[in-house]
Amino acid sequence: MSYTVLLFGVTKDIIGSSVYCPNDEFYTVGHLREHLYQSFPLLQKLNSLMIAVNMNYAEDHIMLSSTDEIALIPPVSGG
């Protein structure tokens, strides 16, 4: 079981790819977030970093499954 994490905007530049497939499993959004912060410390410098699960903003306690569509949402700047 593994995850595919979609990357956008500045997170794509920081991680250097438009998708990220971690080797580890994570039970919650919070666990994934910790992993990302440790693997890519520059993510900690962002104004905010939301994680979307199945196209909804997800709080850290939300459980992850490998079929979820996961995406990193750095500060938005549309409009």
């Binding site: 979609l6 956008f8 905007g9 500045v10 530049d13 410098k45 962002l46 104004n47 979307a52 196209m55 909804n56 903003y57 995406a71 949402i73 750095p74 500060p75 938005v76 700047s77 549309g78 409009g79």
Partner: protein, 144 residues
């Protein structure tokens, strides 16, 4: 995007926007007032000249979030229709990047709802703007 099937769709991500099209999407003879917000690319940011912009989006979620905003606007204000068109891709200063049109029986609600939609769009819709200057580029709002 922009094909015939989507011509009448209220919520769209498009390569370019015709202001009048968005306004006419929400216009029906029953309504009395339409408020339209037109967001354009500014040619300067904090005194620096912007040469071009690039809009990236997480398309399916962006459309979903725009739908949610339109629904919330219809719940919270006395309005009838909301259209939101936002561009993706490269844009020049002065070009239109977002158009929001809100139709209502009475104009006061149209103004308030339209302002709510653009304010909320800027907070929640996963679209990212990259500004290009003479000496580099930056993802807007990413860093303090």
């Amino acid at each position: 995007m922009g094909d015939n099937k989507l011509m009448n769709t209220l919520i769209q991500l498009v390569e370019s926007i015709e202001v009048a099209n968005v306004a006419s999407l929400v216009n029906k003879p029953e309504y009395g007032g339409i408020n339209v917000f037109v967001g354009t690319v500014r040619n300067h940011t904090k005194g620096k000249k912007v040469e071009k912009l690039f809009f990236e989006c997480y398309a399916p979620m962006a459309l979903l979030e725009m739908e949610k905003i339109a629904e919330r606007a219809k719940e919270e204000f006395d309005i009838k229709e909301v259209a939101i068109h936002h561009v993706v891709g490269e844009k020049q200063p002065g070009e239109v990047v977002v158009v929001i049109a809100v139709a209502a029986f009475h104009r006061k609600a149209a103004f308030a709802a339209c302002e709510f939609v653009i304010d909320t769009l800027k907070e929640t819709v996963p679209i990212w703007k990259k500004e290009y200057f003479e000496d580099g580029s930056v993802w807007v709002a990413a860093h303090p």
